[in-house]
């Protein structure tokens, strides 16, 4: 074999374990889900194999699914916005700090060491009727009765922000850290105020990181089902809860498959849009 042929083969050899893993763990299960979505659930709970369009017809035409999907996108959108507003200043401080950058990054990573479910449930001890805030308010005398702060849409958004904020900060940080600070100095030396320098130099250059963080926060937020279960009220279900319910409670795997593919299509379209305008490179940097 020639040296050129060996070199041409090398990337495929190196990539093959990852490609095998992606094929076996992602593409094959996805193919199963596609096949399942055309099956039917019988009255006893067993599946009837075949090619039926009933699940897709129901998923696409029923206003119930459409409404919950829109509500899910709304909650994910609000969460992303809150993460961006809260995450940008934090990322800016980390990127511009001199001596303690490593410590700040470590603090940012700290929540990942605790289970997501535990972190979500911890809000019950903070915001619950006998939680820390209500106990403090009653003790100070501001209120006699506990204030209802949990089990509503706001507490779901809070739980999601808690979960997703580090992803947003990391992506913005990567973007800010890559900006050549002499550009900011140049703007200042030409008479721009610090605020104007930020608006016209720093912010535009960090937008790819903001967009990458936004995409991650949105996609992860829209796909969650634990947070609404733990922190949501009776009417705060998100689309992933419908998938869970169809598959687990109703034992309707075919309908659950159609619903999960529907969510995948919507979120996949967003990722494609992002890739079209900004490319996936920034997202990879943030994840790395």
């Amino acid at each position: 074999m020639t040296v050129e042929a060996r070199e041409a083969r090398q990337p495929y050899l190196l990539l093959s374990p990852a490609m095998v893993a992606v094929t076996l763990l992602l593409l094959v299960p996805l193919a199963f889900i596609v096949v399942y979505s055309f099956w039917l659930r019988t009255a006893t709970g067993a599946d009837q194999a075949g090619f039926f369009l009933d699940n897709w017809r129901e998923a696409l035409s029923d206003a119930f699914y459409r409404d919950i999907l829109l509500n899910t996108l709304k909650i994910a959108g609000i969460t992303t916005l809150v993460c961006a507003v809260m995450g940008y200043p934090a990322a800016y401080v980390i990127a511009r700090s001199r001596g303690n950058k490593a410590v700040l990054l470590l603090l940012l990573m700290l929540p990942f060491w605790i289970s997501y479910i535990i972190r979500t449930m911890s809000w019950i001890n903070i915001l619950g009727a006998s939680g820390a805030i209500n106990s403090a308010l009653i003790w100070v005398g501001i209120t006699d009765e506990p204030i209802q702060m949990l089990y509503n849409e706001a507490s779901v958004v809070l739980g999601l922000v808690h979960f997703l904020l580090p992803f947003m900060i990391l992506n913005i940080y990567v973007s800010l850290d890559g900006i050549d600070t002499t550009l900011e100095d140049a703007a200042c030396s030409l008479g721009a105020t610090r605020w104007r320098t930020f608006l016209e130099v720093t912010l535009p250059l960090s937008l790819p990181g903001l967009a990458a963080g936004g995409l991650l926060a949105f996609v992860l937020g829209a796909g969650t089902y634990i947070t609404p279960i733990v922190l949501g009220g009776p009417t705060d279900a998100m689309f992933a809860n419908l998938v869970f319910e169809a598959i687990i409670t109703q034992l309707n795997w075919p309908l659950g498959s159609a619903l999960s593919l529907m969510l995948l299509a919507v979120l996949g379209a967003l990722v494609l849009l992002y890739n079209h305008f900004l490319g996936m490179g920034q997202l990879m940097k943030g994840l790395g």
Binding site: T44, G45, A46, F64, I124, P234, E245, T249, Q250, L251
Partner: protein
């Protein structure tokens, strides 16, 4: 001779010059290959005889099973009991459906309707009752209903029973008010935001039947039931999903009233919480069983079931999990604590409890579980 000794002998021969390096490495490689090939099968064979998997409801119930049944059983027989937990029968059925035969062995199922569902999905086995002599202590009525489903044979043994009644915080709701309002307390607007409910569609429809004055095993006006469910939903703080969440909501005073599992409320009372418990007329009675899945190591499972039905084990577990055992009180002395447990029937006839009719509930499962799912989410 074990593998370590074989290796040491081979190595000694190699070091003494008895075999060359190539043969030594070749033999080691061949041994490794043989071990790798046989291991999956050996593990399956070992699991078939030396290990039984048990899945239950978690929390205080699992603790009682582990302490009073599984540990002594393993000590006596050498068979390990691997215990897993689930939050509800639906979730567990999904896991079983996705598994290979033999992966799951025994489950602590609730209600005859679950037994029928598992049977209809082809998951039932046939127990050899000769291997379970302690079955003679069980209340006959509890066994008969299972036999009807599986054509005279059994795929489970009844183990305990209880009720899903009403739990209420006595600081805010008196016993008299509960007696007066019964199931309708869950629709009392005075407690808006302090009411909860189990997310299980059967329980919700059962209680809506009581609230609308209908037979829970034969409602005729379903529109009234859906309306009652909507009213309840609008007054609700949240639907709870597990026994642990139920106990937390009551103990933390997040809620004042909900329907609740009798044993869990008793556990709260034992912890000193002033929580009352009441079974309204036609309250939801249920029995739980130990169901053996098709493909399980039957003899080991039957041995475990017999051990668990032995009066000393069964009574200890019942006292631990706070649900009366399936043992007939006219045949077995159940001690002092069990007669004080909620739902306990000293006659052994269970005539005072209303159980779910499996044909009625399973016949409507597909339609009602879906409809309730929608109402639950605000529709």
């Amino acid at each position: 001779m074990d593998n370590t000794k074989r290796y040491e002998r081979l190595r000694e021969r190699y070091l003494n010059g008895g075999i060359d390096r190539r043969s030594f490495l070749g033999l080691i490689g061949a041994a490794g290959l043989a071990y790798g090939v046989q291991t999956p099968f050996a593990r399956g064979a070992l699991a078939a005889t030396g290990e039984v998997r048990f899945d239950g409801w978690g929390g205080v119930v699992s603790e009682a099973f582990r302490k009073h049944a599984f540990d002594p059983y393993t000590e006596k027989t050498g068979i390990t009991v691997v215990d897993g937990t689930f939050g509800g029968g639906d979730e567990y059925l999904s896991r079983v459906k996705a598994s290979q035969p033999g992966e799951y062995n025994i489950a602590h199922l609730s209600g005859v309707f679950d037994y029928a569902r598992y049977h209809n999905l082809g998951l039932s086995s046939t127990l050899n009752e000769d291997n379970i002599p302690n079955l003679k202590y069980v209340i006959p009525k509890l066994t008969d209903v299972f036999r009807k489903v599986t054509g005279g044979t059994l795929s489970c043994v009844p183990y305990d029973y209880g009720t899903t009644g009403l739990a209420y915080n006595r600081k805010h709701i008196s016993d008299e008010e509960m007696k007066e309002k019964g199931a309708n307390i869950l629709l009392d607007a005075r407690f808006k935001g302090k009411i909860a409910g189990w997310s299980d569609w059967r329980t919700r429809i059962w209680y809506a039947s009581l609230q609308t004055g209908q037979d829970p095993n034969g409602a005729t006006d379903m529109e009234a039931i859906w309306e009652a469910l909507r009213t309840h939903r609008d007054l609700l703080l949240k639907y709870w999903n597990s026994g642990a969440e139920l106990m937390s909501l009551l103990a933390e005073e997040e809620i004042y009233v909900t329907e609740a599992w009798s044993g869990r409320v008793f556990a709260l009372q034992e912890q000193g919480h002033d929580i009352g418990y009441m079974d309204p007329p036609n309250g939801f009675g249920w029995q739980e069983c130990l169901f053996v899945m098709k493909g399980s190591p039957m003899e080991a499972c039957e041995e475990l079931l017999n051990f668990m039905l032995a009066p000393e084990t069964s009574i200890a577990v019942a006292e631990g999990q706070n649900y009366p055992p399936a043992l007939d009180p006219t045949k077995v002395d159940l001690g002092k604590k069990i007669p004080t447990l909620p739902a306990f029937d000293p006659s052994g006839t269970l005539d005072g409890l209303t159980f779910a009719d499996p044909a009625y509930w399973n016949g409507h499962e597909q339609e009602w579980s879906k409809l309730f799912g929608r109402i639950q989410k605000g529709y």
